[in-house]
């Protein structure tokens, strides 16, 4: 006969050991509280809105989280996203070649990520400083590439609907629903990255490179190579975010995505990823993005504070979530 405590042991182990336990609990609490107290929160319109708002940040967060687990930062993702957006935009709308557009939109940010990775691993300049400077440099490159002009088209191509079109069959079921294909892309990427992270050797190496690079190196892990690959993946994801962005809004600007890097880091932290590297989860990061998005929607919906000041509330809650996560982890 097992005691209640014994029966609860797996749950307790999950709570203290799984990196996604903290964010999952936070998400559940916020969701239940908002559903109970915030008018119009538990509606298909609000839920689909929360998901949509999380898509661009979420895509970037996937790459950022992987990189953070490997022990590095990337502050230069926003101009990469803009660059991806511009290349995809001009490729589809001007050059008329969809494959080329997609290829370049992923490849150029990948090269930018490669540069970040090489500088960080070869010079040992902290990635915080390296990518802070490439943030400005890449913004300058976007600026030159765009000629200082916003790019916008009023044409609609099929490819735009594939990447970020309306899911009509879902939306027809509920009034006010606005589910989009981009959500499926993000979901697919999260599962893919999560699988790579926990089920492959490369994933192991990522944890090792971030957790204890010295020991990892001693075990034969090529720490430098792992980190460079993570930087490249971070760039690719940023470029992909640019593709998703342009597919719906058919507009890309030099400042597109400004501030996205910090939101992504915040989301990763809320989602249980350690700032010091070596620990974290892609799914947790997605939950982090969802928590922040949910908070924003909840705050706007309550109409209690001036609508132009909701970011402050979101900020306070990010800190709260981070504290909660580390408290849970301290119980381990």
């Amino acid at each position: 006969m097992t005691t209640i405590a014994e029966r609860l042991r797996p749950a307790r182990r999950f709570a203290v050991e799984s990196p996604i336990a903290g964010p999952l609990m936070t998400l559940a609490v916020v969701f239940v509280l908002f559903s109970a107290f915030v008018p119009n929160f538990l509606t298909v319109r609000s839920i689909s809105g929360i998901i949509n708002a999380a898509v661009l940040t979420g895509t970037i967060t996937v790459g950022i989280t992987l990189l953070m687990i490997a022990g590095e930062f990337d502050l230069s993702v926003a101009p990469m996203m803009a660059m991806g957006g511009f290349l995809y935009a001009r490729g589809t709308a001007e050059a008329g070649s969809v494959p080329l557009a997609i290829l370049l939109a992923l490849l150029v940010p990948a090269v930018m990520g490669l540069v970040n990775g090489l500088v960080v691993t070869r010079t040992r300049i902290p990635s915080f400083i390296t990518t802070l400077s490439t943030l400005f440099i890449y913004r300058g490159i976007v600026w030159l590439f765009s000629g200082g002009q916003m790019f916008q088209t009023v044409e609609k191509y099929l490819i735009y609907d594939i990447f970020n079109g309306r899911l009509a069959f879902l939306n027809d079921m509920w009034q006010g629903a606005n589910f989009r294909t981009a959500t499926l892309w993000l979901l697919g990427l999260v599962l893919l990255f999560q699988y790579v992270l926990v089920r492959t050797q490369f994933g192991n190496h990522v944890f090792a490179a971030g957790g204890n690079p010295g020991a990892a190196g001693a075990q034969g892990v090529n720490v430098r190579r792992v980190k460079v690959i993570c930087f490249i993946l971070s760039g690719v994801m940023a470029g992909f975010a640019g593709i998703l962005l342009f597919s719906q809004y058919t507009t890309v600007r030099i400042a597109t995505g400004a501030g996205e890097e910090l939101k992504a880091i915040a989301a990763a932290v809320v989602g249980g990823t350690a700032l010091t590297g070596g620990s974290g989860s892609i799914i947790g990061a997605l939950l982090g993005v969802m928590i922040i998005s949910m908070l924003r929607t909840g705050v706007v919906l309550t109409n209690l504070i001036p609508a132009d000041n909701f970011e402050a509330i979101v900020g306070v809650t990010i800190v709260g979530a981070a504290i909660f996560n580390s408290w849970i982890r301290s119980k381990a």
């Binding site: 708002a53 940040t57 200082g148 002009q149 600007r253 919906l301 909701f310």
Partner: protein, 661 residues
Amino acid sequence: MSQKVLSILVLLSILFVAACGPTPEPQTIVQTVEVEKTVVETVEVEKEVTVVETVEVEKEVEVIKEVPVEVIVRETGPDSVLDLIFVQHALCAWDSFWCTVENGIRSAADDMNVNATILGPDSFDLERVAVLIDQAVAAQPDGIALTVTDPDLFREPIQRALDAGIPVVAYNAGSGPIEDDIAYLTYLGQDEYQGGYLGGLRLAADGGTAGVCINQQVGHTGLDKRCQGFVDALAESDIPAEVLGISDDPAESQTVISDYYTANPDTDIFLTLGPNGANPFYAFMEAEGLDAGDITHGTFDISPEIADRIRAGTTMFGIDQQPFLQGYGAVQMLTMVLRYGILPALPVTGTGPGFVTAENVDFEVDADRPVDAIMVQHALCAWDAFWCVVQKGIEVAATEMGVNATVLGPDAFDLERVAVLIDQAVAAQPDGIGVTVTDADLFREPIESALDAGIPVVGYNAGAGPIEDGIDYMTYIGQDEYAGGYLGGLRLAADGGNRGVCINQQVGHTGLDRRCNGFVDALEEQGIPAEVLGISDDPAESQTVISDYYTANPDTDIFLTLGPNGANPFYAFMDAEGLGAGDIRHGTFDLSPEINEKIKDGTTMFGIDQQPFLQGYNAVMFLMLKHRYGISPALPVTPTGPGFVDLSNVEVVERLAGEYR
């Protein structure tokens, strides 16, 4: 009986008119136009214009009203030679004040290659002016400028011009389209409040203990506004100020001033509102034994006595309404509208206050004086397409006015380099410098070195005006952000509404915040609650925020976005929500292909343009006016926007996009 005779006369004259040519009415009209034009252009002919008030003419006017207007309104564009008619309540022929106005009209017509015809009565007679407006409309010109001396009397004739699709601006007399309640484009004249305010700032610049505004006609709206501005300016420097009423009797007025001074011996700042106030004031000074060192004095207007006192240093300045600029500016405004679809930014366009000081009181006008201008800007057409439009404005103005203008800029965004370029411009000793005041702190020294060298400087496109920037350049030529939000708000709320929201993509950005403030103020004046909603650079997130706000405030029906960055997620929100043009009203700042489409399909009421062409054009124009005519821009900020682009002009704007727009 007499009615019968009249109707026979009418019939006969219609027959007569019809007999003039085989083609129907439009032809005859064109002929009358020709006649009037040749008639009116010299002064002697003015009398013949008044002769026009015979029965036949009245009937011609009648006939013309039956002609479908659209057939006759001509398409105009950048290269059109324009026919403009000016209708004013007085003429140079019998009131010398108007010679300056007419000189302004002629100089501008000459510079801008337009045909200007000036109409006016041969004595002060407003009924006749109203008739002349109708005649001007009948002549089907490209544009009309007029003095709105009596809005009630002129409302109908002006409305007929507007109905005929003829753009109208007012000059010298009027209060602007809103106060006059006539939908003409703008009124060019003195801004009385700003005259008092800016005068007050000058008088209080070196401090003081107490100020007084000597008003010869308390209750006169224009004069009261001058005093109000003066009192407000002094209050900002913590100097108490009040208004002293005097009368038309100079002896009595002198005593009143003297008594006031006895009662308030610490008064050391005096403003008089014209020669009628200045004259007894000077008598008071003499009697009291006061001179320049004891007090500071400024006045409105210029008279020989005031000019002498300015030279002697007793009087700091005389405020001029700059009638030349009223004429010149009226031509320029209409030309901008007709050639480029560029609209005046504000209901009132200040031509004064223009300050006449010891430095410029003896300025000699020379319309042929060569002008070398150097324009220093932080970006160039070569690498930023926005600037091609600004530079086109510079180029067009320079060609039209015979100005030698050089544009300088860095190879890439580099403000340090721009500062160096300003220094180089100063070293070249031009007659004027235009600068984008992108960084007031960084550019302060170079700009001040230009001013010290006696070179006039205007700011364009970037800046906040001489007062806010703390640099004493002439004016900043650019968008008035607050007015953009305010006037946009008035348009959006014109048919009422429940709730408004200003969607701001960068809360904390001064310019954007001002737009929202203007919008909120305009709506609240109409009793409609309004607030600001902050969004971000992430359009997906922004769309959800807008959607959530709308869910929480479903009665919101007025939306203002501050540019394509806000409009873009807003349209996505409308799309997702299934909202259409009939459900809500939307206006935005700026234009983009998407916004243009939405204006055309009626979703968006307007896009507000800062009209960069006008920034370049006006910068050159003001440097030229300063150098040749001694005329200064009236206000610290000379707005080029808001320029509203709506269904009526979006196609013109699109056609000229990239070059003039």
